[in-house]
């Protein structure tokens, strides 16, 4: 390769900068999440979501929708296995939420429970690798605005089946919990 000597001497520095860049943005994201204020004084009855189990402090964490919406939001579109239609899901990453809650390093799974006591476990490997989402908007609208989606509730678990075809919707649709009320970290 033919380039000026001063650039060649700068190459290690440039390489270090390039390597550091993603780590830096990851760090930024962690900082942003860590800086999100958690509501104080919420009770189990008033909370929109309860986090329990192996989290920092060991005590249940009561959260409201406004707190959840303060997390970095993202969207994806895919076919919903329950109605067979393509929808745009908007929400926050479960991993971000659990990071803020201070999930223990040894925790391997969460059990997500709905208001009607339906519950299902999710592996840590799955929610981290496949970016499991806690969604609060469907097709860019809250669930409560549409009669057909009102029973899904305030929060649902969403998985990007379009991005990860290796996830069989027939099997993983059981983890798409509606009206999520409680997450138990185990």
């Amino acid at each position: 390769m033919n380039c000026p000597p001063f650039l060649r001497s700068l190459a290690p520095v440039l390489a270090l900068c390039l390597l550091a860049a993603p780590a830096h943005s990851q760090e930024d994201r962690a900082k942003v999440i860590a800086s999100i204020p958690l509501p104080a004084g919420l009770t189990a009855e008033k909370a929109d979501l309860t986090l329990r189990g192996r989290i920092a402090g060991g005590l249940p964490l009561y959260l409201d929708l406004a707190t959840l919406q303060a997390f970095p939001q993202s969207s994806f579109a895919c076919v919903d296995p329950w109605d067979g239609k393509r929808h745009l899901f908007t929400g926050i990453l479960i991993s971000d939420l659990l990071a803020r809650a201070g999930i223990e390093a040894g925790a391997t799974r969460i059990v997500v429970e709905a208001k009607n006591k339906y519950s299902i476990p999710i592996r840590r490997a799955d929610w981290e690798r496949y970016g499991y989402m806690l969604a609060f908007r469907l097709d860019d609208r809250p669930f409560s605005e549409d009669k057909a989606t009102r029973n899904r509730g305030l929060l649902i678990v969403a998985i990007d089946f379009a991005k990860y075809p290796e996830l069989d919707p027939e099997l993983y649709k059981h983890q798409l919990v509606w009206q999520v009320a409680d997450i138990l970290v185990e």
Binding site: P121, H174, Q175
Partner: protein, 468 residues
């Protein structure tokens, strides 16, 4: 022989075929092995354990339904009878619930992992826990019911039944979770089945490809075989055609050889007849000569007469000598014969043969004996005459013989440079045997005789060209 080489491609094809067959065999074995291994994998999808697991799911769901309906009936009845007044009826419905719940229709968690592989929903673990809880709850229900039945329709019996109903209600809440679990197990099982189906479809596709390859292979081998067969048949046909050609050629050659032999035989027969004819003619001529010589015996002495006869017979003999030495049995070279004849005459008749200057002038010409014998005798007579009479008193002399063609005639001239006779009549009209012999021979040749006495003696005989 021409065309005896094998037809092109015949041997080459047979050398080409074995590798094709070998490759076909290997490919066939690979295909069979692939299909066999694939089928082994498919066979695992249909084994007994899997079938019993599938049956378990269906029967588990049906059993759960029966238990739920029995529980529903009991709880409805109990809610309509808070005081448990109709103790016997409630007891009967309770017994029905316990009996239904006791039928072992649970999905076996042990082989769940084996069937589903990766288990992201923790189904095996949850099913095991649910089964244990279910067993504990049904045992507790059976115990409480047994107590109620033992106490009978009294205060204690009703209290025991009340406890049973409370346990049944919490059993109902647990059944809800069981129901969800059974739905999830069924869903997971169907997902696994769909994966297997995809595997089967892949396998079918592979088999199809194998089948197409096999068909192609069979086609290639068949075409190869057909072509080699055709080449062999073509070669055989070529050989057959060649053989026929060869037989025809030989037959033709044999026929031609036969014809040649037959012609040669005919020629020999003609020649033999000719020889007999000539022998007869020559003997007749010899007889004639002897007869002529006999009439001359009175005038000359006996020795000279025999000498002349001998000369004449030698002329004839020389012709026959030339004939048997010649390649051509029917013609003799004129020059060769006349040269020999004259030299012999000069050698035997001249006092000093070296003093005689003989010259012959004649074209390259072959003549039949019938012409040459008279010519030879004429030349013998004339040369003898010159040797005996022309050079009287001289030491030597010159004799010239010539033959040339003039149109359809031959002109023979015999000349000497000796003293010519005073009168030509002495030669032509002489009573001597020689003169009459020459005259007779010229007549035999249908020729004429002229005499030129200007320089020596020159006898000219003109005769027509003999017919071949």
């Amino acid at each position: 022989m021409r065309g005896a080489e094998p037809a092109p491609g015949g041997r080459g094809r047979s050398r080409f075929l074995p590798p094709v067959f070998l490759a076909s065999l290997i490919l066939l074995l690979v295909l069979v092995a692939t299909v066999y291994v694939g089928n082994l994998g498919l066979a695992g999808l249909l084994d007994d354990e899997r079938q019993s697991f599938e049956k378990n799911i269906e029967e588990g769901a049906a059993g759960l339904n029966r238990v739920i309906f029995a529980l529903f009936d009991l709880l409805v009845a109990a809610s309509g009878d808070p005081g448990l007044a109709d103790f016997g009826a409630l007891l009967g419905q309770s017994r029905s619930l316990v009996n239904h719940a006791g039928i072992p229709v649970r999905i076996d968690a042990a082989n769940l992992t084996r069937e589903l592989g990766d288990d992201p929903l923790f189904l095996a673990e949850r099913l095991a826990a649910a089964n244990a809880r279910y067993a504990a709850q049904t045992a507790e229900l059976a115990r409480l019911l047994g107590e109620a039945e033992a106490r009978g329709e009294g205060g204690e019996g009703r209290r025991a039944l009340g406890e049973f109903l409370a346990a049944a209600r919490s059993f109902g809440t647990a059944l809800k979770e069981d129901s969800q679990l059974s739905v999830q197990v069924a869903g997971a099982y169907h997902a696994a089945n769909r994966k297997d189906l995809a595997h089967i479809q892949t396998h079918i596709g592979q088999n199809l490809v194998g089948l197409i390859l096999l068909a192609g292979l069979i086609l290639v081998v068949s075409v190869g075989y057909y072509r080699s067969r055709m080449a062999a048949e073509r070669e055989l046909q070529n050989h057959r055609d060649h053989l026929t050609e060869l037989v025809e050629l030989r037959t033709r050659e044999l026929g031609e050889a036969n014809d040649r032999l037959r012609a040669a035989l005919r020629e020999r027969e003609i020649l033999v007849k000719e020889v007999y004819h000539r022998v007869k003619n020559n003997l007749a001529m010899v007889a004639g000569l002897i007869t002529l010589q006999k009439s001359d015996l009175s005038t000359g002495n006996l020795g000279e007469a025999f000498e002349k006869l001998s000369q004449r017979l030698r002329a004839i003999s020389l012709i026959h000598e030339k004939l048997y030495r010649s390649a051509d049995l029917s013609n003799i070279a004129f020059g060769d014969y006349v040269e020999d004849l004259c030299r012999t005459l000069i050698f035997s008749l001249a006092a000093n043969p070296a003093s005689i200057d003989f010259s012959l002038e004649a074209p390259e010409l072959a003549l039949p004996p019938d012409t040459l014998i008279p010519l030879g005798l004429i030349i013998t007579e004339l040369t003898t005459n010159s040797l005996k009479h022309a050079f009287g008193g001289r030491a030597g002399g010159r004799i010239e013989v010539s033959l040339h063609e003039e149109g359809e005639e031959f002109v023979l001239a015999v000349r000497d440079d000796g003293t010519p006779p005073s009168d030509e009549k002495l030669i032509l009209e002489s009573e001597s045997l020689g003169a009459s012999l020459v005259a007779g021979l010229v007549a035999q040749l249908r020729g004429r005789l002229d005499l030129d006495l200007a320089e020596g003696t020159r006898v000219i005989i003109t005769f027509p060209r003999p017919r071949p």
